[in-house]
């Protein structure tokens, strides 16, 4: 039956006469090959996009997960009252007279004693070089612990002190014997000692909650740097953004969607909103610098300024989302309310707005998520500054210097010590976890309040 039609005469001069439908001619084969090529090309574009996503996430996770674990020297130390509390009355104010230098000396002695006790050969390392295995931040940490709990004095405790970032890097594979030989901050002998201490249980790597709670630390102490101030700063800014942009955005949307007459002025506002959504974020930073800091005299690096500029950036997003969800409320509901004699405002505030609320909240959360990841405008208002002090409680804290998560990432990438690169990736993980949970919340809200009409 394949060739039944082959005999049929062709009906027109141009026809590719009488070809069987089943056996494709050469041209059709070529066309089908082109079709397959095109399809493969498209598929590879999709795969390329997916691969980019996977590589991006894998690279961030691969570099950053280790930031959540830290190498500690578990130092058995006896907190001698004769050294730390000469007055003997456990009064923290008087105990403050003992500086970190005093604690450092105590720790150095304890470390050497512990090594001797376990019979670890220190070779010809000087005590100072042995002490260099510990973070420069360690004495201050011990001092803070003692001042917070004076009853520790007189006791023998096993204090988990940060190991220096080089030792930490050695156990994480970032530092090798070869690189140590070329490094002024660490020597292979010190690393061998660290190996021995690890074997003896004096060094261990464990989870570091301080990465989330501690403030930033200086260039020389990457092991002590944490995200505490940045997370708090970001939280303050998000609070400002939420408090300002939600009411303003909803108010503007109500006016534009429900009340505004169609005239030049509303057209102008609409065009403005569309364009503001596309203005580069750095331009908003310039606006904030010129307007909020130079003219209004607000302090630099303050969450209030960051919050204000992020509000201006988030407003278009919220307005667009709110208007969409107001539009989705069927006109029949407005008619019903107006029909029983409600005023326009009552209709809007009693009926339309509550129905549109889930959509508005979803849009707001997504807008906040974008604002949380924004960094360029914050660089310009001085949030890159090195801030070690936690801002006070709101509202005064809004005016204190603080950092922000994405900006903290940026400032860590600008530091020379490679340990900061690991922490920058770790901070990205924290940022992404926040974004992910905000997006999940938005999706959940959308699912939960799927339209009811």
């Amino acid at each position: 039956m394949t060739d039944l039609s082959a005999a049929a005469p062709s009906s027109s001069p141009h026809h590719r006469g009488g070809a069987s439908l089943i056996a494709p001619d050469a041209r059709t084969q070529a066309r089908n090959a082109a079709e397959r090529r095109f399809r493969r090309f498209g598929l590879s574009a999709v795969l390329l996009g997916l691969v980019a996503l996977v590589v991006l996430l894998a690279s961030v996770l691969g570099n950053g997960v280790s930031a959540f674990r830290q190498t500690y020297v578990i130092l058995p130390v006896t907190l001698e009252a004769s050294v730390l509390d000469k007055a003997g009355n456990r009064n923290p104010d008087e105990m403050k007279k003992v500086t970190t230098l005093g604690y450092g000396k105590l720790m150095q002695e304890a470390l050497i004693a512990a090594l001797a006790e376990r019979g670890i050969d220190t070779g010809d390392l000087k005590p100072k070089e042995i002490m260099a295995l510990l973070s420069k931040e360690a004495p201050a940490d011990l001092r803070d612990a003692v001042l917070a709990d004076p009853s520790l004095i007189g006791q023998s405790i096993a204090f988990p002190a940060f190991a220096t970032s080089r030792v930490d890097g050695y156990f994480k594979g970032r530092v090798t014997m070869d690189s140590a030989a070329r490094d002024a901050n660490i020597s292979p002998a010190q690393l061998q000692l660290a190996d021995a201490m690890r074997a003896a249980g004096l060094i261990e790597t464990r989870l570091n909650p301080g990465f989330l709670t501690r403030p930033d630390a200086s260039e020389l102490r990457p092991e002590a740097a944490g995200l505490g101030v940045a997370i708090l700063g970001s939280a303050y800014m998000m609070l400002v953004v939420l408090v300002l942009s939600l009411p303003i955005g909803v108010a503007a949307s109500i006016y534009l969607e429900e009340l505004a007459p169609k005239n030049r002025w509303t057209d102008l506002i609409e065009i403005n909103i569309a364009n503001l959504a596309a203005v580069p974020s750095i331009v908003f930073g310039i606006l904030a610098l010129a307007l909020f800091i130079n003219i209004a005299g607000l302090p630099q690096s303050a969450p209030i300024v960051g919050g204000l500029v992020l509000t201006l950036m988030t407003l278009p997003t919220i307005i667009i989302a709110t208007r969409a969800s107001l539009k989705a409320v069927p006109p029949s509901i407005r008619d019903a309310a107006l029909g029983v004699g409600a005023s326009r405002m009552q209709t809007i505030f009693h009926h339309v707005l509550p129905l549109a609320m889930p959509g508005i909240l979803t849009g707001t959360i997504l807008g906040l998520a974008r604002a949380l990841g924004e960094s360029a405008p914050l660089l310009l208002i001085g949030m890159v500054a090195f801030v070690r002090d936690f801002p006070a409680a709101p509202p005064a804290g809004f005016f204190d210097p603080a950092s922000a998560l994405p900006v903290q990432v940026y400032s860590w990438t600008q530091r020379a010590d490679p340990a900061f690169a690991e922490r920058a990736s770790g901070a990205i993980i924290v940022l992404l976890v926040f974004l992910l949970s905000m997006n999940a919340l938005a999706i959940l809200l959308r699912r939960r309040f799927e339209r009811r009409w």
Binding site: S59, N63, I248, I282
Partner: protein, 486 residues
């Protein structure tokens, strides 16, 4: 009395006003709310609104204006003799402000009382010591005249604060009493409240306009300052960019513009084919299962903050391109390069291009596809010869929008492109962009009033004009395209 306390007072007055207005309305009709024109709550709301809102606006305006006015009056006090050579009026004013703030801190911490402070003013050296003890370090010795200016500054600020508190409270109480007096059974409270709210809604929607005005004002104002200090001709025509601390900088925009356009070009080279083909495949070919996975996954790329892409460029893509391409090909030795930033920015733009193209491809009516299939065209022939040409204007619009985003992107280029301003064709060479220089000029330690800092505003203005133009063009094209199929 500070602003925070005033705000609290206003809030209290508002709550009181609500209760008072409601109670008065009800008592006028002996508790029978049916005798009122509006619900009793509306009478309360009128009183609260008239008590709080005008006073609050006054407070806001005062807080914004007072520093400007005080600054102007104090600037007038500074004599030409006070301005040392190499310095400027702005620098002197900055000193005045810092001295005044230091004085404030001394008094606030109780280190000095007002009388002691006044006694210190004629003794600049002593004052300087006390100030540095309070954490205000000054480079040069204090001139007596400057110390007087600082004292005057403090006095005017304090006077302003007092006046502000007084007038804000006066306005609030007047509003409170006036609207309470207006409460009567026939008073149309609901209409008044609704008109009030309507104006507040209008004000909220005008913020978009104010923001634009603010952007344009700040960019144009400071750029104008810049062009007073640095010839516009050199800025727009010079081919070198080399800012120097001691003045005599070359601030030509071309190397930066070149870097920006080069990076954006590479980004579009990556994003447009990949994004477009992905959109076509997902909307025309993909099985529902693949679409359900791939579409959200690609959109995840759009939700990732640009700082993450920047870090990706810095730590992964940069070293990779250097070790596998630039070095073996002998094209350079730098991990930050136009290529690094371009490729990563391209990845960032893929979802942007693909979701815009997806919308546009779906807007092409099915009847055109049917017409083509009915003639025996294959799917790819239909896409390439019917759908694509029909969607072309929309796709061009989408590409322009993507280009505008590429030009304005900051973090990726800050971390991935480098800081060296040069005009070069080698994509593996580090180059810099307009946005990178805005960041570096405004986060550096140079004096604000110097051309090296102010140039950032001129750069920002250029950037704003560029992206705005692209966006308006793109929006226009897309809108026209949509109309074609409606």
């Amino acid at each position: 009395m500070n602003a925070g306390l005033l705000l609290l007072l206003l809030a209290g007055l508002g709550a009181l006003g609500f209760l008072a207005g409601r109670a008065r309305a009800l008592s006028l009709v002996r508790g029978d709310a049916r005798g009122l024109h509006s619900l009793p709550g509306y009478y309360g709301q009128t009183v609260a609104l008239f008590a709080v809102v005008p006073a609050f606006l006054l407070l806001l305006g005062w807080l914004l204006l007072q520093p400007v006015l005080v600054e102007r009056s104090i600037t007038a006090m500074i004599l030409p003799a006070d301005i040392a050579s190499g310095s400027s009026r702005e620098l002197v004013m900055a000193d005045v402000r810092r001295i005044a703030e230091g004085m404030e801190r001394l008094v606030a911490t109780g280190a000095l009382n007002e009388g002691e402070l006044a006694a210190l003013v004629p003794q600049p050296d002593l004052l300087k010591d006390r100030l540095s003890a309070a954490g205000v370090a000054l480079a040069a010795p204090i001139q007596p005249h400057i110390a007087e200016a600082a004292t005057a500054w403090r006095a005017e600020m304090a006077l302003g604060q007092g006046l502000m508190a007084l007038s804000v409270l006066a306005v609030a109480v007047t509003g409170f009493l006036w609207s309470l007096w207006r409460v009567a059974p026939g008073f149309r409270a609901r209409n008044v409240v609704e008109r009030f709210i309507r104006w507040m809604l209008i004000a909220a929607s005008s913020i978009a306009i104010l923001t634009t005005i603010g952007i344009i004002f700040s960019l144009v104002f400071e750029s104008w300052h810049f062009f007073q200090l640095y010839p516009a001709r050199d800025f727009f025509l010079s081919l070198t960019w080399s800012p120097k601390f001691g003045g005599g900088s070359d601030l030509g925009i071309w190397p930066l513009l070149w870097g920006t356009l080069y990076v954006s070009f590479i980004a579009l080279l990556v994003a447009v084919p990949v994004g477009l083909m992905a959109a076509i495949y997902l909307s025309e070919y993909a099985t529902p299962a693949l679409r359900a996975v791939a579409k959200p996954a690609i959109e995840v790329l759009a939700g990732i903050p640009s700082i993450v892409y920047g870090l990706f460029a810095l730590m992964t893509v940069g070293p990779f391109l250097r070790d596998w391409f630039a070095r073996p090909m002998g094209l350079g030795d730098s991990s930050s390069s136009v290529m690094t930033a371009g490729v990563v920015m391209g990845i960032m733009l893929i979802p942007y291009v693909s979701s815009l193209s997806d919308d546009i491809i779906n807007a092409v009516p099915q009847s055109l596809r049917d017409g083509s299939y009915g003639l025996g065209a294959t799917q790819s022939e239909t896409i390439r010869q019917v759908v694509f040409p029909a969607a072309l204007p929309g796709i061009v619009g989408a590409i322009l929008m993507a280009a505008s985003r590429a030009i304005g992107e900051t973090m990726i280029v800050v971390l991935g492109a480098g800081a060296a301003a040069r005009l070069d064709l080698n994509p593996f060479e580090a180059m810099t962009t307009v946005t990178v220089k805005i960041v570096s000029q405004l986060t550096g330690d140079t004096e604000f009033a110097s051309p090296e800092t102010l140039v950032a505003f001129a750069l920002g203005l250029t950037l704003f004009v560029f992206t705005l133009g692209l966006n308006i063009l793109a929006l226009g094209i897309v809108r026209k395209y949509r109309e074609q199929y409606e």
